[in-house]
């Protein structure tokens, strides 16, 4: 606890300055919310809330705007990327904590974390020039072929493999979010008390059984928090997706179709929105995105705090 220290005018000024600086975070959050609501009031008034969120219309010419195609794109790419990233991230965490020899643990962990430091514009450019051709030439035709006879699944791979589509975007997103889930899972795995693991080994469990039945159940709160944090990151990712998703306002059932996310729409259309209602609708989209990601990240934080409390007991 802070001590009772001698009152001093300079100290008062210094403490007030630091307090003001830390309140800035609250001011930013409230400010963003306030400004986005004010700026989108025109669109909120015209399209309402439910109507805006459920309408698939996105037509600047007719001045009719609805967010559903954007929300759909955001949700589907996020979901797919998590589907790919979670098993890989858990595998990496298991490898780093349980399998790798000690001298490799640090370097491999650091290398995976470097993936998170690469700017998203680089992912985007690499995706456009390198990954997308690979996807359209090899991966997507292959997926099309093997799923051709399978009912329902083949719907997912209809259309021409162009490489600029939901699938490519999701793959890039998954590479980008793997480090977050992996490093939080690794930290949570590491907190499993050695004695609990040893007792499982002592009754004859294999390494995998220890991980599956002891380590993962023990650290599931932290792992879950890490997954939700990645989810929040994927929702807000812009540049990487902007290159390879195509900005197509349509509910696509095939993963080989172009789509649009909230972020991609903002990135592509914000600077060229010429009418008030157009701009206001874009602010409305930004508001939806802000609320979505804020709630997701708050949930992630909630689980991580709960996990922290559990481990520190």
């Amino acid at each position: 606890m802070p001590l009772q220290y001698k009152k001093n005018p300079v100290d008062f000024i210094f403490s007030a300055t630091t307090a003001a600086a830390s309140f800035s975070v609250i001011i930013f959050i409230i400010g963003i919310l306030y400004v986005l609501v004010t700026e989108s009031s025109l669109a909120i008034g015209k399209f309402g809330i439910v109507n805006f969120l459920t309408s698939t219309d996105w037509d600047p010419v007719k001045e009719s705007f609805g967010a559903l195609t954007n929300i759909y794109g955001t949700v589907i790419t996020t979901f797919l990327s998590l589907l790919i990233a979670i098993p890989v991230a858990l595998g990496i965490a298991i490898f780093v904590t349980e399998i790798a020899p000690n001298f490799l643990k640090g370097p491999i962990g650091a290398a995976i974390e470097l993936l998170a430091a690469i700017p998203s514009i680089i992912y985007g450019m690499w995706g456009l020039f390198t990954l997308s051709p690979i996807m359209s030439k090899y991966v997507e035709p292959f997926l099309k072929e093997i799923t051709a006879g399978v009912p329902f699944v083949n719907v997912l791979f209809q259309g021409t493999p162009m490489g600029i589509d939901i699938l490519t975007a999701s793959v890039i997103l998954s590479i980008m979010i793997v480090p977050f889930t992996a490093s939080i899972s690794r930290d949570s795995f590491n907190l499993t008390p050695a004695i609990v693991k040893e007792s499982a080994y002592a009754i004859g469990a294999t390494k995998w059984e220890v991980i599956k039945n002891v380590v993962i159940p023990y650290s599931k709160l932290g792992v879950f928090g890490g997954i939700v944090l990645s989810l929040g990151r994927a929702i807000g990712e812009t540049m990487a997706v902007a290159f390879v998703l195509g900005n197509n306002h349509k509910i696509a059932t095939s993963l080989l179709d172009a789509a649009a996310t909230i972020t991609v729409t903002l990135a592509n259309e914000f600077a060229e929105a010429d009418k008030d209602i157009y701009l206001s609708s874009l602010f409305y989209l930004a508001l939806v995105l802000f609320v979505m990601s804020f709630i997701t990240l708050a949930i992630a934080k909630f689980f991580l705090i709960k996990a922290e409390k559990k481990y520190s007991r």
Partner: protein, 281 residues
């Protein structure tokens, strides 16, 4: 098959898959970095840094404007964001230590760290660009500063909390007021950690593109006027990569190489700094 054998095989498969996952992670890292290196190094020459862009479609030219613009925006963002972040972290770790308020702000900062940067761009557009009627370097710098604040604030708070309380007591015992204790004792003890936070936050914003798209926008001419639209490497990469010309694509790769190397260097230095600290105890 006996149960024993089944368990062993299952375990082996799981271990093999985990190893494969780790290799896959490394594979992507090498693939992406290698690709940027191979493509980027081809276009990397002095004229890239010394020439301004040639007119669209014309070969040659460089990205001097974008390099300078990127530096200006990043430096201004650092000058605005770092003091706010460090002071804010000081409040949480010192004056408000242990209070509920401190906890709330630090949780909100953690959330702010991950808030989509494009949202911050739209916010600054509404607050600065729209009222003033034009894009400007300052708007970009402020957007990046807002992204930096929570990062610096949280690392500062964490690093200050690590400074042993007894160190402060020793200074209090000499009759020093709290602000002097903080500036002369606590900051000194946590300097490596705070510096790490600053480096990581610079690395974080130096690669940002989305918030610059509609704040500092872009400028194909050389300009040091922060009140006007300013070019940045990242927005230029976006524009050039999406553009139709091959010469644009090669320059975008070269710019990508420069920015990737700078950011990874900052990140690695930051990580090493904090490691050194831990070893010393």
């Amino acid at each position: 098959m006996t149960r024993e054998k089944k368990r062993k095989i299952e375990g082996f498969i799981a271990m093999a898959l985990s190893t494969l996952a780790a290799l896959m992670g490394l594979f992507w890292l090498v693939f992406i970095l290698g690709d940027v290196l191979v493509h980027g190094i081809k276009a990397l020459d002095l004229s890239l840094f010394s020439n301004d862009p040639a007119p669209a479609g014309v070969e040659g030219g460089g990205l001097r404007n974008a390099f300078v613009g990127q530096l200006m925006i990043t430096i201004c963002a650092t000058l605005i964001g770092v003091p706010v972040g460090v002071l804010g972290g000081t409040f949480l770790a010192e004056y408000a230590r242990g209070r509920k308020l401190s906890r709330v702000i630090s949780i909100l900062s953690d959330i702010m760290v991950s808030v989509p940067s494009i949202v911050i761009g739209t916010f600054i557009y509404a607050v600065f660009v729209k009222p003033l009627g034009h894009f400007s370097g300052w708007a970009g710098a402020i957007a990046l500063a807002i992204i930096m604040v929570p990062v610096v604030l949280r690392t500062t708070e964490d690093m200050l909390t690590l400074v042993p309380w007894t160190l402060r007591e020793a200074a209090f015992a000499l009759g020093a007021p709290y602000y002097k204790v903080i500036i002369q004792v606590v900051y000194r003890g946590a300097s490596a950690g705070i510096l790490t936070g600053i480096l990581l936050s610079i690395a974080r914003v130096a690669g940002e593109t989305a918030p610059l798209l509609f704040t500092s926008f872009n400028n194909s001419f050389f300009s040091v006027d922060m009140n006007r639209p300013v070019a940045s490497l990242t927005v230029t990469i976006f524009q050039y990569a999406m553009g139709p010309y091959d010469s644009w694509h090669t320059q975008a790769w070269a710019a990508s190489l420069v920015i990737t190397i700078s950011i990874l260097t900052l990140t690695v230095i930051g990580r090493l700094l904090i490691k050194g600290r831990h070893f010393k105890g």
